[in-house]
């Protein structure tokens, strides 16, 4: 029994950690990179450096503390964490809210704060950038930025957190690569389904389909249940006995009637009298128990 409980607990823990993983650092993507920063975003020190933007592609907050950023391609080798930049622990700013961004400065000045990494980027070569999980071995995301990047033109994903890498039409540090200035879904509906007929037909079809599937499934389940109860009834009646056509399909009303009859039967024919204490009201208005005379102090008898 104890083993069973431990097993269930371990299973739940495994499921929880598996589920939690989906909301953790593995959801982070390298989203946009600016290699040559001449007239673009400045850091807290007022300096311009190449930068790397990370994007939390999940619906939960992700903490990057302890993760590693590197410009060394460790494929085929065991990553050496000493050569990678560990994102410091204990800084609340390393938490990225859902679908939000954070920016790291590739200035090779890690002493300048949490968001300054220990390598830099150069337009003269291909720049490899990778993000490793806190264990130092699990690769979360990687990208090679081709050589020859132009000044103040960034390279990134055409859709935040997914899509294809390419040169972006505008530089968007710490904001979405695709700026949503309209609700495309709604505009689509307004343009193509101004009467709402399309929505009605589609939605009603889905509602009917959903309930139709439920109907078909439960029709089958019902048939199985009826057959099972017929078999049970046959077993109870004995082999060779002919059963009524509706055996196993009796209505709930029949059972309710039988149950009520049994209840009434058992309620009326009892051997032990009910031990009911009835307090009847005394008809007389006077009773020695309620007489005030006994509770009053008697006057002294002066004879």
């Amino acid at each position: 029994m104890t083993n069973k409980k431990i097993g269930v607990l371990l299973l739940l823990m495994a499921l929880f950690s598996f589920g939690a993983q989906a909301q953790l650092t593995t959801s982070v993507k390298i989203n946009e990179v600016l290699v040559v920063n001449e007239d673009n975003f400045v850091d807290d020190y007022g300096k311009r450096h190449p930068w790397i933007e990370l994007f939390n592609n999940s619906a939960g907050t992700v903490d990057l503390r302890g993760c590693y950023l590197t410009d060394i391609d460790w494929k085929g080798k065991k990553p050496d964490v000493k050569k990678m930049y560990m994102i410091p622990k204990g800084d609340v700013l390393t938490k990225i809210p859902p679908r939000q961004h954070t920016l790291f400065w590739a200035d090779n000045e890690p002493t300048r704060g949490t968001f300054h990494v220990n390598f830099t980027l150069s337009p003269d070569k291909d720049n490899y950038i990778a993000l490793y999980d806190a264990d130092g071995t699990t690769l979360i995301d990687e990208i090679v930025i081709p050589a020859g990047q132009r000044a103040d033109v960034s390279y990134g994903l055409d859709v935040d957190g997914s899509g294809k890498w390419g040169t972006l039409s505008k530089v968007t540090p710490s904001t979405n690569n695709v700026t949503l200035d309209s609700n495309e879904k709604i505009e689509n509906f307004q343009r193509n389904d101004s009467w709402g007929i399309g929505m009605t037909v589609t939605a009603m079809a889905v509602v009917f389909l959903g309930l139709l599937i439920l109907f078909l499934v439960f029709k089958q389940i019902g048939n199985i249940a009826i057959n099972a109860s017929k078999r049970n009834a046959q077993k109870a009646a004995g082999e060779g006995t002919t059963l009524a056509a509706n055996a196993g399909q009796e209505s709930g009303e029949i059972f309710a009637a039988i149950a009520t009859a049994l209840y009434e039967m058992s309620d009326d024919n009892h051997d032990i009298e009910n031990t009911v204490l009835t307090i009847r009201k005394v008809q007389r208005s006077y009773s020695p128990w309620s007489s005030k005379i006994y509770t009053l102090r008697q006057s002294p008898n002066k004879k």
Binding site: N183, K185, I186, F189, Q190, D193, S194, W195, G196, I197, M199, T200, T202, A203, M204, V206, V207, F208, L209, G210, L211, L212, I213, L214, F215, V217, F218, K219, I221, G222, A225, I226, A228, S229, Q249, E250, S251, G252, E253, I254, F255
Partner: protein, 397 residues
């Protein structure tokens, strides 16, 4: 000397009096009397009407009393002095309680309670009644089409249309996601019409049926085994949520509540869900929805339009349900036919709509009890409206 003292005293008392008068004036400017507008008075009257309907005619008193009183609370006029009093002032007590509505976490908890108190036996024993529950969802999309023509944008129209599902929690859940600015009007409209189904539905049920149809006797539902009752919430969740994942908060809680009821081994959980939990949430939901109808935010032309559309959506849902049963009967053998009077129960006002089927049915045949048959489409309507809400959220959210 004496004169100067007297003059000083007179001057002091005059300035003190002036100070007192100023304070009284300030106090008066803070009272409800000084800040009342015709809008506040109208809303207070609406609140009183709700309370009257609930007590006098017992129209959904569990909903109308909290909502009606909430309307009174929300429409006490006051001067906005940053005292964190109103429901729309961040950090106020009412605002904190209102988060359950605004963030949409009261409705799934209500659904948990509904699941824990609903017996799906009628539906399981006669699963074809599920389709009646689906047909009544035309009310949602009928209102959606009309709302679009009245100038609402698709997401607002979707939020308004859901009133036709006759399901208050679903209406609140969806409107909080699609059109938060219309939520007050949508919620009050949905609950008001849910309370008024005994008035709205019967005339259309009579209008669309013949006497012969109204006296159709349906086969009594068979007894359903516990295994079937346990399978229902599990299979129901898997099928509906796979089809419409956006309905998960409502469907998940509804079927979970039903499983803890039917499993037979979690009686305490089921009793809490269908008892204290749903009562607490109903109180909080009702009072905050009522209070959210602050005249300044609520009394708009849109609110009036929403009320009109709400009534229409109920009518469409009722007619669609009844007509669908009549159509369905064309394909059913004699003896298996469905009484069209249960078509109205496809709206998910549980169990009021089913009770109306029963009452109207008894008017024409005093020994024809339709209640248990009507409960089938009624609970199917709950599932159907949650699925419809999921679809609207998926398309327009």
């Amino acid at each position: 000397m004496l004169t100067s003292i007297l003059l000083q005293a007179a001057g002091a008392s005059e300035s003190f009096l002036q100070f007192l008068m100023e304070n009284i004036q300030i106090f008066l400017s803070y009272t409800g009397f000084a800040n009342a507008t015709p809008g506040h008075i109208i809303m207070l009257l609406v609140g009183l009407l709700f309370i009257f309907l609930a007590i006098r005619f017992e129209f959904e008193p569990m909903l109308l009393i909290p909502i009606g009183f909430g309307i009174l609370i929300g429409n006490i006029p006051f001067k906005d002095a940053g005292l964190q009093l109103g429901i729309y002032e961040e950090g106020s007590v009412l605002n904190i309680l209102y988060q359950g509505v605004k963030q949409g976490w009261y409705p799934p908890l209500i659904f948990l309670g509904i699941g824990a108190m609903t017996d799906f036996s009628a539906l399981i024993s006669n699963p074809k009644l599920m389709l009646v529950g689906a047909a009544a969802q035309f009310g949602i999309f009928g209102a959606y089409i009309i709302a679009l023509q009245m100038g609402f944008d698709p997401s607002q129209a979707g939020a308004i249309g859901i009133i036709g599902g006759a399901d208050g929690p679903t209406a609140i859940f969806l409107s909080s996601k699609l059109a938060p600015n219309l939520m007050g009007a949508i919620a009050v409209s949905a609950y008001s019409y849910m309370a008024l189904v005994p008035i709205i539905q019967p005339p259309f049920m009579r209008l669309l049926t013949t006497h012969k149809e109204r006296v159709i006797r349906m086969k009594p539902p068979r007894a359903v085994s516990q295994t079937e009752k346990i399978i229902f919430p599990i299979v129901g969740l898997l099928l509906t949520a796979f089809l419409v994942p956006s309905g998960l908060p409502l469907l998940g809680m509804l079927f979970f509540g039903n499983l803890i009821k039917e499993s037979g081994v979690t009686r305490r959980l089921a009793e809490t869900a269908r008892g204290p939990l749903i009562d607490v949430i109903t109180i909080l939901l009702g009072i905050t929805v009522g209070a959210s109808t602050q005249a300044t935010q609520f009394l708009t032309l849109n609110s009036i339009k929403i009320f009109g559309l709400g009534a229409l959506s109920f009518v469409i849902a009722t007619c669609a349900g009844v007509l669908f049963v009549k159509f369905f009967n064309l394909f059913l053998k004699e003896g298996n036919k469905i009484n069209p009077l249960i078509g109205n129960s496809g709206v998910s006002a549980v169990p009021d709509a089913a009770r109306i089927s029963q009452n109207v049915g008894l008017e024409y045949d005093p020994s024809n009890y339709l209640l248990m048959h009507a409960m089938g489409p009624n609970v199917a309507g709950v599932i159907g409206s949650a699925v419809a809400a999921g679809i609207l959220l998926g398309f327009l959210g």
